[in-house]
Symmetry: C2
Subunit: 182 residues, 2 copies
Protein backbone atom coordinates (compact mmCIF):
# COMPACT_ATOMS: atom_id res chain seq x y z
CA UNK A 1 0.00 0.00 0.00
CA UNK A 2 1.52 3.31 -1.17
CA UNK A 3 -1.38 5.77 -1.36
CA UNK A 4 -4.48 6.62 0.70
CA UNK A 5 -7.60 5.14 -0.90
CA UNK A 6 -9.65 7.98 0.63
CA UNK A 7 -7.72 11.11 -0.46
CA UNK A 8 -4.93 9.87 -2.74
CA UNK A 9 -2.03 11.24 -0.62
CA UNK A 10 0.97 9.12 0.35
CA UNK A 11 0.66 6.75 3.31
CA UNK A 12 3.35 5.95 5.84
CA UNK A 13 3.81 2.84 7.99
CA UNK A 14 3.63 3.86 11.65
CA UNK A 15 2.06 2.82 14.95
CA UNK A 16 -1.06 4.97 15.56
CA UNK A 17 -1.64 6.32 19.11
CA UNK A 18 -3.15 3.62 21.34
CA UNK A 19 -2.27 0.89 18.84
CA UNK A 20 0.50 -1.70 19.08
CA UNK A 21 1.17 -2.54 15.41
CA UNK A 22 2.38 -0.45 12.46
CA UNK A 23 -0.44 0.54 10.08
CA UNK A 24 -0.59 2.41 6.80
CA UNK A 25 -1.54 5.89 7.99
CA UNK A 26 -2.41 8.86 5.74
CA UNK A 27 -0.50 11.99 6.79
CA UNK A 28 -2.96 14.16 4.87
CA UNK A 29 -6.47 13.03 5.93
CA UNK A 30 -5.51 10.88 8.91
CA UNK A 31 -7.21 7.68 7.72
CA UNK A 32 -5.72 4.50 9.21
CA UNK A 33 -5.76 1.58 6.76
CA UNK A 34 -6.00 -1.82 8.42
CA UNK A 35 -5.05 -5.05 6.64
CA UNK A 36 -6.85 -8.14 7.94
CA UNK A 37 -7.02 -11.84 7.06
CA UNK A 38 -9.46 -13.00 4.41
CA UNK A 39 -11.95 -15.85 4.72
CA UNK A 40 -11.98 -18.62 2.13
CA UNK A 41 -15.18 -20.64 2.42
CA UNK A 42 -16.14 -23.91 0.75
CA UNK A 43 -17.87 -27.22 1.26
CA UNK A 44 -17.69 -30.97 1.05
CA UNK A 45 -20.85 -31.69 -0.92
CA UNK A 46 -22.21 -35.25 -0.95
CA UNK A 47 -24.45 -37.00 -3.44
CA UNK A 48 -25.27 -40.67 -2.88
CA UNK A 49 -22.07 -41.13 -0.88
CA UNK A 50 -19.84 -39.46 -3.48
CA UNK A 51 -18.08 -36.12 -2.94
CA UNK A 52 -17.97 -33.16 -5.33
CA UNK A 53 -14.54 -32.12 -6.65
CA UNK A 54 -13.36 -29.42 -9.07
CA UNK A 55 -10.16 -29.38 -11.15
CA UNK A 56 -8.77 -25.85 -11.13
CA UNK A 57 -8.70 -23.81 -14.35
CA UNK A 58 -6.90 -20.93 -12.59
CA UNK A 59 -3.73 -20.27 -10.65
CA UNK A 60 -2.58 -21.05 -8.04
CA UNK A 61 -2.47 -24.82 -8.55
CA UNK A 62 -3.90 -24.87 -12.07
CA UNK A 63 -4.90 -28.43 -13.01
CA UNK A 64 -5.03 -29.71 -9.43
CA UNK A 65 -8.17 -30.98 -7.70
CA UNK A 66 -9.94 -29.07 -4.97
CA UNK A 67 -13.23 -28.68 -3.14
CA UNK A 68 -15.52 -25.84 -4.26
CA UNK A 69 -14.30 -22.84 -2.21
CA UNK A 70 -13.38 -19.20 -2.59
CA UNK A 71 -13.10 -15.76 -1.04
CA UNK A 72 -16.11 -14.72 1.02
CA UNK A 73 -17.76 -11.54 -0.28
CA UNK A 74 -19.13 -8.59 1.67
CA UNK A 75 -22.84 -8.71 2.52
CA UNK A 76 -23.11 -12.50 2.58
CA UNK A 77 -22.93 -15.15 5.32
CA UNK A 78 -20.33 -17.92 5.49
CA UNK A 79 -22.96 -20.51 4.49
CA UNK A 80 -24.11 -18.36 1.57
CA UNK A 81 -20.48 -18.02 0.47
CA UNK A 82 -20.03 -21.81 0.48
CA UNK A 83 -23.20 -22.30 -1.59
CA UNK A 84 -22.29 -19.48 -4.03
CA UNK A 85 -18.79 -20.88 -4.63
CA UNK A 86 -20.24 -24.34 -5.28
CA UNK A 87 -22.64 -22.87 -7.82
CA UNK A 88 -19.91 -20.76 -9.48
CA UNK A 89 -17.20 -23.42 -9.67
CA UNK A 90 -19.29 -26.57 -10.21
CA UNK A 91 -22.70 -25.23 -11.35
CA UNK A 92 -24.10 -27.34 -8.51
CA UNK A 93 -26.92 -26.48 -6.14
CA UNK A 94 -26.03 -27.43 -2.58
CA UNK A 95 -27.79 -27.37 0.76
CA UNK A 96 -25.20 -26.22 3.29
CA UNK A 97 -25.03 -28.04 6.64
CA UNK A 98 -22.82 -27.51 9.71
CA UNK A 99 -19.31 -26.06 9.75
CA UNK A 100 -16.86 -28.91 9.71
CA UNK A 101 -13.27 -27.61 9.48
CA UNK A 102 -11.41 -24.36 10.21
CA UNK A 103 -7.87 -24.07 8.86
CA UNK A 104 -5.61 -21.14 9.69
CA UNK A 105 -3.09 -20.24 6.98
CA UNK A 106 -1.34 -17.32 8.72
CA UNK A 107 1.61 -17.01 6.31
CA UNK A 108 -0.83 -15.91 3.58
CA UNK A 109 -3.32 -14.21 5.94
CA UNK A 110 -6.20 -16.57 5.24
CA UNK A 111 -8.71 -18.57 7.28
CA UNK A 112 -10.34 -21.47 5.43
CA UNK A 113 -13.78 -22.73 6.46
CA UNK A 114 -15.33 -25.95 5.13
CA UNK A 115 -19.00 -26.80 5.57
CA UNK A 116 -20.73 -30.11 5.09
CA UNK A 117 -23.29 -30.05 2.29
CA UNK A 118 -25.66 -32.14 0.20
CA UNK A 119 -26.27 -31.62 -3.50
CA UNK A 120 -29.87 -30.81 -4.28
CA UNK A 121 -30.19 -32.82 -7.52
CA UNK A 122 -26.74 -34.34 -8.11
CA UNK A 123 -26.10 -32.19 -11.19
CA UNK A 124 -22.73 -30.51 -11.74
CA UNK A 125 -20.55 -29.19 -14.55
CA UNK A 126 -17.45 -27.01 -14.70
CA UNK A 127 -17.92 -23.29 -14.10
CA UNK A 128 -15.49 -20.70 -15.50
CA UNK A 129 -12.81 -21.42 -12.90
CA UNK A 130 -12.90 -25.23 -13.30
CA UNK A 131 -11.50 -27.54 -16.01
CA UNK A 132 -13.78 -30.37 -14.91
CA UNK A 133 -15.97 -31.44 -12.01
CA UNK A 134 -16.58 -34.91 -10.62
CA UNK A 135 -18.53 -36.83 -7.98
CA UNK A 136 -15.97 -39.25 -6.55
CA UNK A 137 -16.08 -42.21 -4.19
CA UNK A 138 -13.53 -42.31 -1.38
CA UNK A 139 -11.41 -44.75 -3.43
CA UNK A 140 -11.38 -42.38 -6.41
CA UNK A 141 -10.06 -39.29 -4.56
CA UNK A 142 -6.87 -38.07 -6.32
CA UNK A 143 -4.81 -37.63 -3.11
CA UNK A 144 -1.56 -36.90 -4.95
CA UNK A 145 -3.19 -34.24 -7.14
CA UNK A 146 -4.98 -32.18 -4.47
CA UNK A 147 -4.47 -28.42 -4.75
CA UNK A 148 -4.18 -27.36 -1.11
CA UNK A 149 -3.22 -28.78 2.29
CA UNK A 150 -6.41 -27.38 3.86
CA UNK A 151 -8.45 -29.41 1.36
CA UNK A 152 -6.53 -32.57 2.22
CA UNK A 153 -7.08 -31.96 5.95
CA UNK A 154 -10.81 -31.34 5.53
CA UNK A 155 -11.22 -34.48 3.39
CA UNK A 156 -9.25 -36.71 5.77
CA UNK A 157 -11.22 -35.57 8.82
CA UNK A 158 -14.51 -35.78 6.93
CA UNK A 159 -13.94 -39.37 5.80
CA UNK A 160 -12.77 -40.40 9.26
CA UNK A 161 -15.84 -38.85 10.92
CA UNK A 162 -18.15 -40.36 8.31
CA UNK A 163 -16.76 -43.83 9.02
CA UNK A 164 -17.36 -43.29 12.75
CA UNK A 165 -20.82 -41.83 12.18
CA UNK A 166 -20.11 -38.68 14.24
CA UNK A 167 -19.13 -35.36 12.70
CA UNK A 168 -17.08 -32.91 14.74
CA UNK A 169 -15.46 -29.52 14.14
CA UNK A 170 -11.76 -29.77 13.31
CA UNK A 171 -9.16 -27.01 13.47
CA UNK A 172 -5.68 -26.96 11.96
CA UNK A 173 -3.03 -24.23 12.01
CA UNK A 174 -0.83 -24.63 8.94
CA UNK A 175 2.89 -23.77 9.05
CA UNK A 176 4.53 -22.16 6.01
CA UNK A 177 4.58 -24.64 3.13
CA UNK A 178 7.31 -26.63 1.46
CA UNK A 179 8.05 -25.81 -2.21
CA UNK A 180 5.08 -24.49 -4.24
CA UNK A 181 2.39 -25.81 -1.90
CA UNK A 182 -0.02 -23.08 -0.78
CA UNK B 1 -12.61 3.94 -1.88
CA UNK B 2 -11.67 6.78 -4.23
CA UNK B 3 -8.02 6.23 -5.13
CA UNK B 4 -5.76 3.29 -5.99
CA UNK B 5 -3.60 2.36 -3.01
CA UNK B 6 -0.93 1.06 -5.41
CA UNK B 7 -0.43 3.99 -7.82
CA UNK B 8 -2.60 6.84 -6.45
CA UNK B 9 -4.81 7.21 -9.55
CA UNK B 10 -8.62 7.32 -9.37
CA UNK B 11 -10.54 4.06 -9.11
CA UNK B 12 -13.85 3.25 -10.73
CA UNK B 13 -16.54 0.76 -9.68
CA UNK B 14 -16.97 -1.80 -12.46
CA UNK B 15 -17.28 -5.54 -13.02
CA UNK B 16 -13.86 -6.93 -14.07
CA UNK B 17 -13.77 -9.50 -16.93
CA UNK B 18 -14.70 -12.97 -15.63
CA UNK B 19 -16.09 -11.52 -12.39
CA UNK B 20 -19.73 -11.12 -11.38
CA UNK B 21 -19.58 -8.24 -8.89
CA UNK B 22 -18.53 -4.58 -9.21
CA UNK B 23 -15.04 -3.92 -7.79
CA UNK B 24 -12.93 -0.81 -7.33
CA UNK B 25 -10.68 -1.02 -10.40
CA UNK B 26 -7.74 1.29 -11.16
CA UNK B 27 -7.88 2.56 -14.75
CA UNK B 28 -4.21 3.52 -14.59
CA UNK B 29 -2.37 0.44 -13.24
CA UNK B 30 -5.18 -2.11 -13.55
CA UNK B 31 -5.18 -3.21 -9.90
CA UNK B 32 -8.49 -4.68 -8.73
CA UNK B 33 -9.27 -3.82 -5.11
CA UNK B 34 -11.41 -6.43 -3.35
CA UNK B 35 -13.32 -5.67 -0.15
CA UNK B 36 -13.96 -8.70 2.05
CA UNK B 37 -15.54 -9.39 5.44
CA UNK B 38 -13.43 -9.05 8.56
CA UNK B 39 -13.08 -11.60 11.34
CA UNK B 40 -13.75 -10.57 14.94
CA UNK B 41 -12.40 -13.21 17.33
CA UNK B 42 -12.88 -13.56 21.07
CA UNK B 43 -13.44 -16.03 23.87
CA UNK B 44 -15.53 -17.06 26.82
CA UNK B 45 -12.82 -17.48 29.45
CA UNK B 46 -13.64 -19.42 32.62
CA UNK B 47 -12.05 -19.29 36.05
CA UNK B 48 -13.54 -21.44 38.84
CA UNK B 49 -16.92 -21.44 37.09
CA UNK B 50 -16.98 -17.66 36.57
CA UNK B 51 -16.75 -15.98 33.14
CA UNK B 52 -14.54 -13.05 32.16
CA UNK B 53 -16.27 -9.84 31.05
CA UNK B 54 -15.03 -6.40 29.94
CA UNK B 55 -16.88 -3.08 30.09
CA UNK B 56 -16.10 -1.13 26.92
CA UNK B 57 -14.07 2.09 27.12
CA UNK B 58 -14.47 2.70 23.37
CA UNK B 59 -17.21 3.14 20.79
CA UNK B 60 -19.34 1.46 19.59
CA UNK B 61 -21.32 0.60 22.76
CA UNK B 62 -19.12 2.54 25.21
CA UNK B 63 -19.96 1.52 28.78
CA UNK B 64 -21.62 -1.77 27.81
CA UNK B 65 -20.37 -5.22 28.79
CA UNK B 66 -18.78 -7.62 26.34
CA UNK B 67 -16.54 -10.65 26.02
CA UNK B 68 -12.88 -10.04 25.15
CA UNK B 69 -12.85 -9.93 21.33
CA UNK B 70 -11.53 -7.87 18.45
CA UNK B 71 -10.36 -7.75 14.85
CA UNK B 72 -8.07 -10.58 13.81
CA UNK B 73 -4.66 -9.35 12.59
CA UNK B 74 -2.61 -10.56 9.65
CA UNK B 75 -0.01 -13.26 10.40
CA UNK B 76 -1.84 -14.76 13.36
CA UNK B 77 -4.24 -17.69 13.82
CA UNK B 78 -7.81 -17.39 15.08
CA UNK B 79 -6.82 -18.91 18.43
CA UNK B 80 -3.88 -16.54 18.76
CA UNK B 81 -6.22 -13.63 18.01
CA UNK B 82 -8.61 -14.71 20.78
CA UNK B 83 -5.74 -14.97 23.29
CA UNK B 84 -4.22 -11.63 22.21
CA UNK B 85 -7.52 -9.78 22.53
CA UNK B 86 -8.04 -11.25 26.02
CA UNK B 87 -4.59 -10.06 27.03
CA UNK B 88 -5.10 -6.61 25.50
CA UNK B 89 -8.60 -5.92 26.82
CA UNK B 90 -8.48 -7.70 30.20
CA UNK B 91 -4.73 -8.18 30.85
CA UNK B 92 -5.62 -11.86 31.32
CA UNK B 93 -3.65 -14.90 30.21
CA UNK B 94 -5.96 -17.50 28.68
CA UNK B 95 -5.55 -20.99 27.29
CA UNK B 96 -7.76 -21.16 24.20
CA UNK B 97 -9.89 -24.29 23.69
CA UNK B 98 -12.29 -25.28 20.89
CA UNK B 99 -14.30 -22.95 18.67
CA UNK B 100 -17.75 -22.59 20.13
CA UNK B 101 -19.80 -20.05 18.16
CA UNK B 102 -19.74 -18.49 14.68
CA UNK B 103 -21.96 -15.46 14.12
CA UNK B 104 -22.42 -13.88 10.70
CA UNK B 105 -23.11 -10.13 10.75
CA UNK B 106 -23.45 -9.53 6.99
CA UNK B 107 -24.87 -5.98 7.19
CA UNK B 108 -21.52 -4.81 8.61
CA UNK B 109 -19.39 -7.37 6.75
CA UNK B 110 -18.15 -9.18 9.84
CA UNK B 111 -17.87 -12.77 11.02
CA UNK B 112 -17.57 -13.23 14.79
CA UNK B 113 -15.85 -16.31 16.25
CA UNK B 114 -15.95 -17.22 19.95
CA UNK B 115 -13.64 -19.80 21.49
CA UNK B 116 -13.91 -21.52 24.84
CA UNK B 117 -11.00 -20.69 27.14
CA UNK B 118 -9.62 -21.08 30.64
CA UNK B 119 -7.74 -18.37 32.49
CA UNK B 120 -4.21 -19.41 33.40
CA UNK B 121 -4.07 -17.77 36.86
CA UNK B 122 -7.41 -15.99 37.31
CA UNK B 123 -5.81 -12.54 37.18
CA UNK B 124 -7.41 -9.73 35.14
CA UNK B 125 -7.55 -5.96 35.02
CA UNK B 126 -8.79 -3.42 32.48
CA UNK B 127 -6.60 -2.85 29.41
CA UNK B 128 -6.70 0.43 27.44
CA UNK B 129 -10.00 -0.40 25.73
CA UNK B 130 -11.85 -1.44 28.93
CA UNK B 131 -13.35 0.60 31.79
CA UNK B 132 -13.42 -2.46 34.08
CA UNK B 133 -13.14 -6.23 33.94
CA UNK B 134 -14.94 -8.83 36.05
CA UNK B 135 -15.23 -12.57 36.64
CA UNK B 136 -18.99 -13.14 36.93
CA UNK B 137 -21.21 -16.05 37.93
CA UNK B 138 -24.13 -16.89 35.66
CA UNK B 139 -26.47 -15.01 38.03
CA UNK B 140 -24.31 -11.88 37.84
CA UNK B 141 -24.27 -11.53 34.03
CA UNK B 142 -25.60 -8.04 33.08
CA UNK B 143 -27.96 -9.26 30.33
CA UNK B 144 -29.57 -5.87 29.79
CA UNK B 145 -26.20 -4.13 29.46
CA UNK B 146 -24.50 -6.42 26.94
CA UNK B 147 -22.83 -4.64 24.03
CA UNK B 148 -23.59 -6.94 21.09
CA UNK B 149 -26.15 -9.54 19.98
CA UNK B 150 -23.37 -11.95 19.02
CA UNK B 151 -22.08 -11.82 22.61
CA UNK B 152 -25.54 -12.56 23.98
CA UNK B 153 -25.94 -15.51 21.60
CA UNK B 154 -22.52 -16.97 22.51
CA UNK B 155 -23.23 -16.63 26.23
CA UNK B 156 -26.70 -18.17 26.02
CA UNK B 157 -25.47 -21.19 24.04
CA UNK B 158 -22.41 -21.57 26.28
CA UNK B 159 -24.42 -21.64 29.51
CA UNK B 160 -26.95 -24.05 28.00
CA UNK B 161 -24.22 -26.42 26.82
CA UNK B 162 -22.40 -26.17 30.17
CA UNK B 163 -25.56 -27.19 32.01
CA UNK B 164 -25.95 -30.18 29.69
CA UNK B 165 -22.27 -31.08 29.94
CA UNK B 166 -21.77 -31.20 26.15
CA UNK B 167 -20.31 -28.35 24.14
CA UNK B 168 -21.24 -27.98 20.48
CA UNK B 169 -20.52 -25.49 17.70
CA UNK B 170 -23.31 -22.95 17.24
CA UNK B 171 -23.92 -20.73 14.21
CA UNK B 172 -26.17 -17.68 13.95
CA UNK B 173 -26.82 -15.36 10.99
CA UNK B 174 -27.83 -11.96 12.34
CA UNK B 175 -30.35 -9.76 10.47
CA UNK B 176 -29.86 -5.98 10.41
CA UNK B 177 -30.33 -4.59 13.91
CA UNK B 178 -33.02 -2.51 15.54
CA UNK B 179 -32.03 0.99 16.75
CA UNK B 180 -28.35 1.45 17.77
CA UNK B 181 -27.67 -2.25 18.31
CA UNK B 182 -24.65 -3.48 16.32
Amino acid sequence: MNFCSQCGASVRLRVPPGDSLPRHVCDSCGTIHYLNPKLVVGCIAEWEGRLLFCRRAIEPRHGFWTLPAGFMENEETTSQAAARETLEEACAKVEIGPLFALVNVPHINQVHLFYRGHLVDGRHEPGEESLETALLTEAEIPWSALAFRSVRFALERYLEDRRQGIFRLHQLDLPPPPADYL
